[in-house]
């Protein structure tokens, strides 16, 4: 009598455990994907020796979130195994069907939550979309994930539902998406942007913000600064953050430092999810025609007039980038950043000079971008 309900309940309980785990993991997925950028699994004995067993296990779980559905499936499978194991134990101790079912469900779900919290090292409030301070972090994480995959439309759509965007990091992400689409000059002051921190934050309290700045500078076309912050951020992660290694491969290829790029590719080839990316970039280094590759376009950002980054002002560096990339999409992106920085810093002469030099690039249908036009006309009236 007691075995009948158990047999019929087991598949149902298993299914519920998988669904519950899948839903929770799916809700946490952006955070897990974000964390995967810092820690993946390297199929290499020295990696385990370097980072220790705990980090290696974290990396093993996180690696699957390089592809979001693989990660969700992996953790759901883990929940199913936990559920079956608990079911087996409960059956041995001859518990009732209802108790067995509830215990199996609760323990498998708790195990799933525990694994997600441990691998991300974040609280439940950050993992699940909730309000308050944790929501701010969550929004940055989701935005940063989209920056990594260059989903510019999605970033704009995401933050449109959260307007007004007052947080400076969020503004950075949104403005990056606008700049990449050549719309920053039209959209800059739609959000409460107070100063140049709306474009790039100046305070760098940790390696996560350093990585964020690497993204911003890469988008601007300031490759030296992007490389600098990627390197700094990667140092903190035992030099094995896949996200930063990818960026360093890009910047070193841009600078034609192929032997250094190979060093980072050596490690990326030892992963499950970056192997193909590494092979593609190795082929690029070994002589495939790079002329149409995005990195070849970025190489134009390396301007001839060497100087120390920022010592003549970031704006002057960007002006050089715009000059050396004239005729490319990067030039438009850089000019949108530059014009926005001039407006936010109220650098009037430099703004007018930029418009006069690059008016042909900035004008669309005879008009400057909205806020550039307003500022320019305002200055002309003065």
């Amino acid at each position: 009598m007691s075995s009948f309900p158990r047999r019929s309940l087991q598949p149902l309980v298993l299914l519920i455990a998988i669904v519950l785990s899948g839903v929770f993991t799916a809700m946490s997925q952006p955070v897990l994907t974000y964390c995967e950028g810092w820690n993946t699994f390297y199929y290499d004995t020295q990696y385990i020796h370097t980072v220790g067993c705990a980090e290696a296990v974290r990396g093993f779980v996180l690696q699957f979130f390089a592809h979001q559905w693989h990660g969700i499936l992996f953790l759901s499978l883990l929940a199913a195994i936990t559920c079956m194991a608990v079911w087996g134990i409960m059956r041995r101790v001859k518990c009732g069907a209802v108790v067995t079912s509830i215990a199996s469900l609760i323990i498998s779900l708790m195990a799933n939550v525990g694994i997600v919290c441990w691998t991300t090292q974040m609280s439940l409030s950050t993992l699940l979309p909730m309000g308050g301070e944790t929501a701010v972090n969550r929004q940055f994480i989701e935005g940063s994930d989209m920056v990594r995959t260059q989903q510019w439309d999605e970033i704009i759509e995401y933050f449109a539902s959260k307007a007004p965007v007052a947080n400076e990091l969020h503004q950075n992400l949104l403005n990056m998406a606008y700049a990449e689409q050549g719309k920053l000059g039209d959209m800059l002051l739609n959000q409460p942007c107070q100063n140049i921190n709306a474009i790039y934050v100046s305070d760098i309290p940790n390696y996560l913000i350093a990585a964020h700045l690497s993204d911003v500078y890469y988008s601007m076309g300031h490759i030296a600064q992007s490389q600098r912050y990627a390197f700094e951020s990667n140092e903190k992660m035992h030099n094995l953050s896949p996200r930063m290694l990818q960026r360093l491969v890009q910047t070193n290829i841009i600078y034609e430092q192929y032997e250094v790029a190979k060093k980072y590719l050596y490690w990326l080839k030892r992963t499950l999810y970056y192997r193909d990316w590494a092979d593609e970039h190795l082929a690029l280094i070994k002589g495939s025609d790079p002329s149409n590759h995005p990195l070849a376009m970025k190489r134009k950002c390396i301007f001839a007039d060497n100087r120390f980054s920022g010592t003549r002002g970031l704006d002057d560096d960007l002006l050089q980038v715009a000059r050396s990339t004239r005729g490319t999409k990067q030039c438009v992106t850089t000019l949108h950043y530059l014009g926005s920085l001039y407006i936010l810093a109220d650098y009037t002469d430099q703004f007018v000079s930029m418009v006069e030099e690059f008016g042909d690039v900035l004008r669309s249908n005879g008009h400057l971008p909205r806020y550039f036009d307003q500022y320019y006309n305002h200055l002309k009236r003065q």
Binding site: A224, Q227, F231, E232, E235, H238, V260, Y266, T311
Partner: protein
């Protein structure tokens, strides 16, 4: 029955092992040199160093590759690992080096059509001049400013054993640098730390002393008596190039040289070493302790004139008994006349040769791809020349002599242009160096895997206690 099964099992294992073990084959000579990394062909190695490991980098040629190490009647066959690496065991290596002056290395394998072929024989020359037992260096990421893990490590050169002397996870993540030894004695040393443990630390006569002078004491050089340590006090900054291949520029806003008396723990100097009109840095004592070599440049506005700061090589006489410097400064290499800029003067233990790093400008040569090693013969009217045998197209910089003056170790970025690696070369005592070799490592792909640079390699005779 059980005995029969055990016998069958034993025989199976034995046959499997026999089938797996490689042996030398009759192979067709390819007539070309094997492409191996690191390159140990035609290098001279000390008889007491750990075995070299290397990778066959020619991916198209050989499968099932073996390396046959041979010296006289002794022969060892080493199979390549899964990544084409060859690692001869320490015991086998030392059995070869114990008597031989040359070790030949032949690499055989099958080509894509299954035929056994062999590359040209490589030679490794073995010198009876032994090398000091230990090497100390800092492992640190090449450049940048925050969050780095670093440490000072000591390597037993006869084996691959590497041991941390101090790591910055014990010092609140602060920078640790400037390790220096007196007369190659690991128990008499100095190092410097920043952040919460900031200070210059001196280990002498079994006692560790912490000093906190301002500005801090860097680039130490121990006087051979152990009574004095010459330091430089530098106001150093770094900036990042936008375009230049030299990613980073490190420069001084000011610098002076002072000497610490390790008995009184008081510093002293002289006007010639602390002039406001010039930057003085990189002090280095002669082996007899009667001359202090240093580098000096006219002070220029930094960072605007960073590429106009060119350091000449100078010296000043010193009386170790009175602790007083002479008033006259000699210029051994005048950059205004001869061009370039000088850093890291180091005199050979016999006092005859002075090796230094020569680069285009400035004083932080590791970020200068044009940096090369040069040497002055102090007994031959200061004859100065670049060390062609040691230099590469990339950075060749910080160097140290072994205690017997027969070996020199230096830092080079010749492999990839960024991550500094230690290379060792034999010196014949008459101004000639052999081809340098990469410090032997326990893995053939060590360079690819290590994400840190070797910094300030220094020999010692004995092991250092942990700090």
């Amino acid at each position: 029955m059980r005995r029969t099964i055990s016998s069958i099992l034993f025989l199976t294992i034995l046959i499997s092992l026999a089938a797996c073990s490689q042996q030398e084959r009759k192979a067709k000579a390819l007539g070309i040199d094997a492409s191996t990394f690191p390159d140990y062909n035609d290098v001279t190695m000390p008889c007491n160093i750990a075995p070299p490991t290397f990778i066959l980098t020619d991916e198209s040629m050989l499968h099932d590759a073996i390396a046959i190490f041979e010296a006289g009647s002794t022969k060892h066959i080493v199979e390549s690992d899964g990544e084409r690496g060859f690692c001869i065991s320490e015991a086998d290596w030392h059995s070869l080096t114990s008597h031989a002056t040359d070790i030949s290395v032949r690499i055989q394998g099958t080509n894509p059509s299954g035929e056994w072929v062999e590359y040209n024989t490589q030679k490794i020359h073995i010198s009876r001049d032994s090398i000091d037992n230990f090497l100390t260096y800092r492992l640190v990421e090449p450049g940048y400013e925050v969050w780095g893990e670093m440490g000072i490590y000591q390597r037993d050169l006869q084996t691959y054993e590497e041991r941390a002397i101090i790591t910055n996870d014990k010092t609140d993540g602060g920078c640790i640098n400037c390790h220096s030894y007196c007369n190659y004695d690991a128990e008499t040393m100095s190092l410097h730390m920043r952040k919460t443990c900031a200070g210059t630390y001196i280990r002498k006569d079994g006692t560790d002393t912490r000093l906190q002078p301002q500005p801090s004491l860097v680039y130490p050089s121990w006087h051979p008596t152990g009574k004095y340590i010459a330091y430089s006090q530098n106001d150093t900054k770094q900036l990042f190039h936008t375009t230049s291949r030299n990613r980073i520029e490190v420069f001084d806003y000011s610098s002076d040289i002072v000497v610490l008396n390790t008995e009184t723990m008081q510093t002293f100097s002289c006007p010639q070493l602390t002039s406001g009109a010039s930057f003085e840095t990189f002090p280095s004592w002669s082996p007899d302790g009667r001359t202090l070599y240093f580098c000096s440049a006219d002070s220029v506005a930094m960072p605007a004139q960073y590429d106009e700061a060119c350091y000449s090589l100078c010296s000043i006489a010193f009386d170790p008994h009175t602790g007083i410097f002479d008033t006259k400064v000699d210029t051994l290499y005048n950059v205004k006349r001869e061009g370039g800029s000088i850093s890291f003067p180091r005199v050979s233990p016999d006092g005859r040769y002075l090796m230094f790093t020569h680069h285009a400008y400035g004083n932080f040569s590791i970020w200068h791809h044009e940096a090369d090693l040069w040497m002055i013969d102090l007994q031959a009217n200061g004859f100065t020349c670049p060390l062609v045998a040691l230099n590469s197209p990339d950075t060749d910089s910080y160097h140290s002599w072994s205690s017997n003056g027969k070996w020199v170790i230096f830092s080079s970025r010749r492999i990839d242009g960024l991550y500094t690696r230690p290379f060792i070369a034999h010196f014949d005592g008459k101004g000639h160096f052999s081809k340098p070799f990469y410090l032997p490592q326990n893995r053939a792909d060590h360079h690819q895997r290590l994400m840190k640079s070797y910094n300030i390699p220094e020999f010692t005779r004995n092991a250092t206690r942990e700090w």
